[in-house]
């Protein structure tokens, strides 16, 4: 017998100005089922789910809950209908405990019995297999624990339909496995679960059915059992794509950058980077893996001269000439020494680019000082802008429209394009494909490889271990600001790196590290 339908969306359309986020989308989720909503960034997955959770209101179409037409005008309406959404960015009060956060905002008698709340939370946790300490304050929690609180929060409110927006983006492989076990337990209990994702491996491992969105349209729903990575990718992208990342062997690697005992302490006095040491070589991609916030940002910024360091040294080895010690120098001073260091930061519009400026003006960011004129020269930058738009196939209404208006993939192409234009001897990129669709991601991988072959030392901070393992030559793992290991990417496994990501004592050296 077919399972009962929990939610159905029929002919749903949502527009933002002239942009169509969803058009005539149909989707249904049954009880006791995990449905993946798959699509590239900007394909309208989150918008669609936000209409279920009451954040947006559809322009057209109808939503049914258990075959009853309903109108969801606010998150409160959604709650009353048993729909709970776990957003990508957690919405918890840091100074409250897990139990307090879960009880927050619930209707009830004047006197709140936290003991009662705790007991109910523990019942739920035991039922589905959560590990939680209800008295732990949120600021003491890891990302995965915070996520647990968020999920329990919606369960506590009696949600029968759970929507999770990219739940694994912030988790280690081990934590992801644990989450999946819990989700499967919920499925057995008859909950309807929707997960939004663009990671194909997870879709195949977890869900019963997959609904694929492409440019705001539903392009089909398939049974997971009969699907493969290749078939899903084609549905998602709309054409055949090759999924192999090439990895040319390093040619005559030479030392380009030496980092020794680099240590950073932030404004609160917490050590964010703890005696990190490594060497980057030309013709090689060095990957950096780690759970979000393990010191990746601090490491790259310290090298780029944007983060004060308390200990250690940074030394560049140019192709010709003597090594240059740039410890304690700011970005301007490093630039003046003629060191060709390119840096694609994680925060593209908050650090790498100026959102309100157009592509040409953003090209000037690195070179505007050149020349003795009081006025700026825009001819060179405009040529560069036009070249990047053409070569990297940047979609834009022109080189004079603000970069903030462009999509994430195009913004990243502009930023990477500018940084590699200076033929860098060291190229640092942080999360280079975050938020990018498959085609754009492969363009970026290709550009990194191109720089590698040209003899740059490429340092790449990434979050997708599959990609790091396929792209890099060596992978350095950070955990809580410490380097816990440097492994050979050609032989290492995901599990090995996963262990290093949570490993806090001692350093595991493997291959020819250092």
């Amino acid at each position: 017998m077919e399972k009962k339908i929990a939610v159905e969306m029929r002919g749903v359309t949502k527009r933002f100005g002239s942009v169509i986020a969803n058009e005539n989308v149909c989707l249904d989720v049954r009880r006791g089922e995990i449905l993946s909503v798959l699509g590239e960034n900007g394909s309208g997955k989150t918008t669609l789910m936000n209409m279920l959770s009451g954040i947006y209101f559809p322009d057209e179409g109808q939503i049914f809950i258990e075959d009853r037409p309903v109108t969801i005008r606010s998150p409160r309406d959604a709650f009353e209908l048993g729909i709970g959404m776990i957003h990508q960015h957690f919405k918890l009060v840091d100074v409250f405990t897990a139990a307090e956060n879960i009880a927050l905002g619930l209707p009830g008698p004047m006197r709140l019995s936290l003991n009662e709340v705790r007991r109910k939370i523990m019942d739920l946790a035991n039922k589905y297999g959560f590990e939680i300490d209800v008295n732990q304050k949120v600021y003491d929690m890891s990302v995965s624990q915070k996520q647990t609180v968020e999920i329990l929060k919606v369960l506590y409110r009696g949600a029968k339909i759970l929507i999770l927006d990219e739940p694994t983006a912030v988790l280690t492989p081990q934590e992801t496995e644990r989450l999946f076990r819990i989700l499967r337990n919920m499925r057995e209990d008859g909950k309807a679960i929707v997960i939004i994702t663009h990671k194909l491996a997870e879709v195949l491992a977890l869900s019963d059915r997959v609904s694929v969105l492409r440019k705001g349209h539903s392009v089909g729903t398939v049974q997971t059992a009969g699907a493969t990575v290749q078939s899903l990718t084609e549905l998602m992208v709309g054409k055949r794509v090759t999924l192999d990342i090439e990895r040319p062997d390093p040619v005559r690697p030479e030392r380009r950058l030496d980092v020794k005992d680099l240590t950073c302490v932030n404004a609160e006095g917490i050590t964010t980077l703890d005696h990190a040491a490594f060497t980057a070589r030309s013709g090689e991609i060095l990957g950096i893996a780690g759970v979000a916030g393990s010191g990746q940002k601090e490491l790259l910024e310290a090298i780029a001269g944007l983060q004060p360091t308390t200990e250690g040294s940074v030394t560049f080895y140019p192709k010709q000439g003597d090594p240059v010690d740039t410890t304690h120098m700011n970005a301007g001073a490093i630039d003046k020494l003629g060191i060709r260091l390119a840096f694609v930061p994680e925060d593209r519009l908050g650090m790498g680019l100026v959102g309100s400026m157009d592509i040409t003006e953003n090209m000037m960011l690195r070179t505007y000082r050149e020349g003795h004129s009081f006025l700026t020269d825009k001819r060179g930058p405009r040529k560069l802008a036009e070249r990047i738009v053409q070569q990297l196939e940047v979609v834009t209404s022109g080189v004079s429209s603000p970069v903030r208006r462009m999509s994430g993939g195009n913004v990243q192409k502009v930023l990477v394009g500018r940084e590699i234009a200076s033929a860098p001897s060291v190229l640092m990129v942080a999360y280079p494909v975050r938020g990018l669709d498959i085609n754009s991601s492969y363009t970026i991988y290709h550009l990194l490889n191109e720089q590698k072959v040209k003899g740059s030392a490429v340092i790449c901070v990434g979050e997708d271990l599959d990609v790091l393992l396929a792209l890099c030559d060596r992978i350095m793992v950070l955990c809580a600001g410490k380097v816990t290991g440097i492994v050979d990417a050609r032989t290492a496994t995901k599990e090995e790196i996963g262990l290093l990501m949570t490993h806090t004592e001692g350093v595991i050296e493997e291959g020819e590290a250092g």
Binding site: R10, G11, V70, T71, L306, N330, G350, M351, V354, Y368
Partner: protein, 371 residues
């Protein structure tokens, strides 16, 4: 739950509005504001709104003299707005223009009083201009230095310096009193006109206008095409990006505030030497604050500022006329200015967003009824 209930209206962000449409929206806003003002005038006073409007016109530009007074004061307001724009573009909230203008005026008055008649005219003018700019620059640099070094809040700092400036003027008046006991400086060098702006093109205020318009053009070029202007824009947008690009943020803050303060000081020179020929605590007259409105309303475009400052001064001059002609107090005209500004600012919302009202009767959706 009812199926057909829907929010009353949707607000949708626009991608960008074609220029004619934006112009039409703004024109409609001005028209509507005049209609609303007419309603308010009639409701409160029972007067004919058209008569009140014509009194406005007559008060602001009705005679040659009135027209030139309006132009003179617009030029002054415009120069202050130009002066503070680089700071605001850098997201440095300089609300101390009032004080910077005042110390500039004070420096000018000092040079005028002690130097008038004692040196050649060209030297007197050079000295007045230089001293006024230096004084304004110092007044701008003090908060900037603290901001750059200790990251203090510039809003409070610049505001407080306004009062220090006023006290300095009060203090100086004691020495320069004329006539004695009046507690005012009176018109300086009334008979000899030492250090007064000469007529230009046969106009008393021709020189004021020429200076301010030249600075308008220079400021436009500075902000749009110079390396300094580029740095200001980057720092204003994001200090992180600025540091990433190797820009020394502290240096830019200091340099920009030096420029901003110096231009405010120069305004003080133009007011004392070119308009009032005296100094008092009300020499700046709140224009340091009004200029902030001018600058933001013009979205930092120097040429738009010409229009905006003219409009504000026009309203002010007209207000004086209706106050005397119809026995309305000046607050009545503040009400009208407020209504007009409300409409002009409010229409920006309709330029950036589109509001669609609830549709009556929803479209049938294919396959709606489920078996």
């Amino acid at each position: 739950m009812n199926t057909a209930r829907e929010p009353l209206f949707h607000i949708v962000k626009r991608d960008g509005v074609p220029f004619p449409k934006a112009l039409a929206i703004r024109a409609a806003a001005v028209l509507l504001s005049l209609v609303a003002c007419a309603g308010v005038i009639f409701a409160l006073t029972g007067m004919n709104p058209l008569e009140v409007y014509s009194a406005y016109l007559s008060g602001a530009v009705g005679t040659n003299r009135r027209l030139w007074m309006t132009i003179r004061d617009s030029a002054t307001l415009l120069l202050i707005a130009l002066a503070i724009t680089p700071a605001f573009k850098m997201r440095f909230w300089n609300i101390g223009a009032e004080g910077q203008v005042l110390v500039g005026g004070l420096a000018t008055a000092a040079v005028m009083i002690y130097g008038g008649g004692a040196m050649p005219t060209w030297l007197l003018f050079t000295l007045m201009a230089t001293c006024s700019m230096l004084a304004g620059m110092v007044w701008g640099l003090i908060p900037a230095a603290f901001k750059a070094r200790y990251n203090t809040n510039e809003t409070l700092f610049t505001l407080m310096l306004n009062y220090v400036g006023m006290q300095l003027v009060t203090f100086s008046i004691v020495f320069w009193e004329n006539p004695a006991g009046s507690n005012t400086v009176g018109v300086i060098h009334q008979a000899t006109e030492y250090g007064w702006f000469p007529d230009l093109f046969g106009q008393k205020y021709g020189l004021n206008v020429l200076i301010v318009l030249s600075i308008t053009v220079l400021m436009f070029v500075y902000l749009r095409y110079s390396k300094h202007g580029y740095e200001i824009a980057v720092v204003g947008e994001s200090e992180n990006t600025a540091r990433y690009a190797g820009i020394n943020v502290s240096k830019i803050i200091l340099r920009t505030m030096a420029l901003s303060g110096a231009l405010c000081g120069l305004t003080g020179f133009i007011i004392v030497s070119g308009c009032s020929h005296t100094i008092s605590t009300s020499t700046a007259g709140g224009r340091g604050f009004t200029a902030i409105i001018v600058s933001w309303l013009s979205k930092f475009n120097p040429f738009t500022m010409i229009l905006v400052s003219f409009f504000l001064v026009f309203m002010e001059k007209g207000a004086i006329q209706i106050a005397s002609q119809f026995n309305l107090n000046e607050n009545a005209s503040d009400v009208l200015t407020g209504i007009i500004l409300f409409f002009i600012l409010g229409c920006e919302f309709f330029i950036n967003y589109e509001v669609s009202l609830r549709r009556h009767g929803r479209k049938e959706i294919k396959g709606w009824a489920r078996s």
